[in-house]
């Protein structure tokens, strides 16, 4: 899957997704649902997760910039990209510059604005950075368009595919020859490439190498073509899942190569599923951009809300997915978190820090403990209270009762300023308070802070109230 080039959080999430999907695969089959339904679910899930940016930033931070750099020969001539581009980004224009290790190489970094309308013409030598933080170096001029699915992959996309493909040496030298690979080479190579793909990524990808970015194209020119072929059907597969022979190979490729595959692949593929169509001509860019522009806008919030649910209730995470297929019906697990849930809020970081305000932490287990404890204690006190209150009322008839429904009482002027998105869901080892100084010893938690997700097994914090 996309466990390469991911932070530890992303890896954890992906492994969770994988476990859940695998564990319910049989259930799906029993229900009579096709396997591709499950795959759709998985891709949808992963893509939403990616879009939520909860891990994107993490990934961005853990990625060595050098991996993203693809040197485009300065003398590479720009081939014509028809499709009148609505937006032409000049190669020299740099909206956003991402610190790259090889700054000496000519590259222009872009961040495509949200709301960008397709098609977009992107010249060669441009490094695209999606809003989710993913960087894609475009070695060949591309036109990003949004096109109906089912179109055969074109060579242009294949080039990009190679860019994002798994690790190897910069492909700059290979690009021009690749550029010359016309589409016609594409379809016939698809089955071949697909077959050859599985063994390829594994050896090339050092296990657990987060820094290996998909953008490192393989050195040999053959590989790019392989990748191209394999990659382009992938989006189609994820999109349609109805294509015959060439598709199953990539599909299986993806699944089998899960530990080694790139997160980008998933992004691309899942984006396809989520969005709708992609012009195969510029599929890869499309995927990224769609993911950024469309998906993120639409689904970022939802995905973000879903994130805590997913991480907290792994097995229940299926419920949190917003899919056309109502997977929640398959599970009887009650969703404790989620968009409608009342997430517990606390502002804290993994590093002990001092903050001015905080809210108490209550996790699901503690809530249950509270409920059980309260239920028993309240039940006991009710009967005694009613007896005592009867006597009190007789004795205290003359006692003042001037609450006046709040007319005289001053409204509490403490604002509700705790409505944040920074949430920690965890268990506590020890919570200590001295006057107004609090100390927290927490364990086994997930924290969403600043839109990013952090997972910890131990956390220590201090706060002042």
């Amino acid at each position: 899957m996309l466990t390469n080039n991911t932070g530890p959080v992303a890896k954890l999430y992906l492994s969770i997704i994988y476990d859940v999907i695998e564990s319910i695969r049989e259930l799906f089959l029993d229900e009579g649902l096709e396997d591709r339904v499950l795959d759709d679910l998985k891709h949808l899930w992963e893509s939403k997760m990616m879009q939520s940016k909860a891990m994107e930033d993490l990934r961005k931070n853990t990625i060595n910039s050098s991996n993203f750099v693809l040197q485009l020969p300065a003398n590479y001539t720009q081939t014509d990209q028809e499709l009148g581009a609505s937006v032409v980004i000049p190669a020299s224009h740099s909206i956003h510059s991402f610190p790259m290790k090889n700054n000496s190489e000519t590259l222009a970094t872009f961040s495509l604005p949200a709301g960008l309308t397709y098609p977009v013409q992107i010249p060669a030598g441009v490094t695209l950075q999606t809003a989710s933080g993913q960087l894609y170096k475009v070695n060949v001029p591309v036109v990003v368009t949004q096109a109906p699915a089912g179109q055969p992959p074109e060579s242009k996309t294949t080039h990009k595919v190679t860019e994002r493909r798994e690790a190897a040496a910069p492909q700059s030298a290979a690009i021009p020859p690749n550029a010359t690979h016309p589409q016609e080479a594409e379809p016939p190579s698809v089955p071949a490439t697909a077959v050859t793909q599985p063994p390829h990524p594994k050896p090339t990808l050092p296990p657990g190498q987060e820094s290996s970015l998909p953008q490192q194209p393989p050195v040999p020119a053959v590989e790019p073509s392989q990748r191209q072929g394999a990659h382009s059907p992938e989006p189609e597969v994820t999109l349609e899942e109805n294509e015959p022979s060439p598709q199953p190979e990539p599909v299986s490729l993806r699944m089998t190569a899960s530990p080694c595959s790139q997160m980008l692949d998933f992004q691309i593929c899942t984006e396809e599923v989520l969005t709708h169509t992609a012009q195969l001509k510029n599929r890869d860019i499309d995927d990224i951009l769609k993911e950024v522009i469309e998906e993120e806008r639409e689904k970022a919030e939802r995905a973000r809300n879903r994130m805590p649910a997913k991480t907290d209730n792994q097995s229940e995470a299926v419920l949190g997915l917003d899919l056309d297929y109502n997977y929640s019906e398959l599970s009887d697990i009650v969703q404790l978190d989620g968009p409608a849930g009342n997430s517990d809020i606390e502002e804290e970081e993994e590093v002990p820090l001092e903050e001015n305000d905080f809210l108490g932490i209550i996790n699901a287990e503690a809530v249950k403990a509270l409920q059980e404890g309260d239920g028993s204690s309240d039940g006991n006190s009710i009967s005694s209270t009613s007896d005592s209150e009867g006597a009190d009322e007789l004795a205290n008839v003359e006692e003042e009762d001037p609450l006046n429904s709040g007319d005289d009482v001053i409204e509490q002027d403490i604002p509700d300023l705790f409505d944040t998105d920074n949430v920690i869901v965890c268990q506590y080892d020890k919570i200590h308070r001295s006057k107004n100084r609090w100390k927290f010893h927490l364990k086994d938690g997930v924290m969403c802070y600043g839109g990013r997700d952090y997972v910890f097994s131990k956390a220590v914090g201090e706060a002042e109230w």
Partner: protein
């Protein structure tokens, strides 16, 4: 509040404890879950709710009895108690503010002189008691105003009583006794 010597003795009220009743049963779990700034103590069966302004900590029991501590004046205590009742009302309980009573007032005062505790205790038996091995202060209880004064050898005293007026009276009463036993400061 002034001493009989025309000096102004600053009696600083540090803590006022008050109780009141809400006349309705309170669901502690609801308060713990939905209230802000609450500490739930299920083992004891109460919820602590802290208010920032006035700085008050309230112990809320499910019977509806609430003990309000940390106020710096009686008015503050009442204001805080009402705010608290208002908070509980907003949480959905049919709260009636009744039986508000200031239970305890703690004040500190500093004498401009040091005190010889042994002499003080000898002069004021049996009202004063002093056990240096147990506590470094001599305890002077004024029965009729129900005030307790702890006298330290440095000249600082703490006074606790049922209300602020009693506390003031106690200070006035004890001052001459302390003055007699003052320890001359050789500096």
């Amino acid at each position: 509040m002034d001493s009989s010597n025309d000096e102004a003795l600053d009696i600083i009220i540090t803590n006022v404890v008050a109780t009141f009743r809400t006349r309705c049963h309170l669901n502690l779990r609801t308060i713990a879950l939905e209230g802000t700034n609450v500490i739930y103590k299920p083992e004891v069966g109460k919820v602590l709710m802290k208010l920032r302004k006035p700085k008050i900590t309230a112990s809320i029991w499910s019977s509806g009895k609430i003990i309000c501590t940390g106020a710096t004046s009686e008015d503050d205590a009442k204001l805080g108690a009402r705010r608290l009742a208002r908070l509980l009302q907003k949480l959905g309980f049919k709260v009636r503010f009744s039986a508000f009573k200031v239970v305890n007032v703690l004040a500190v005062c500093s004498m401009p002189f040091a005190i010889h505790l042994i002499d003080f205790t000898k002069n004021n038996r049996p009202i004063a008691s002093y056990e240096p091995e147990l506590h470094p202060a001599a305890t002077y209880r004024i029965k009729h105003i129900k005030a307790t004064i702890q006298v330290f050898s440095t000249g600082s005293i703490t006074v606790t009583g049922p209300n602020v007026q009693n506390v003031a009276t106690a200070v006035e009463q004890v001052y001459p006794l302390l003055f007699e036993c003052q320890k001359p400061r050789y500096k």
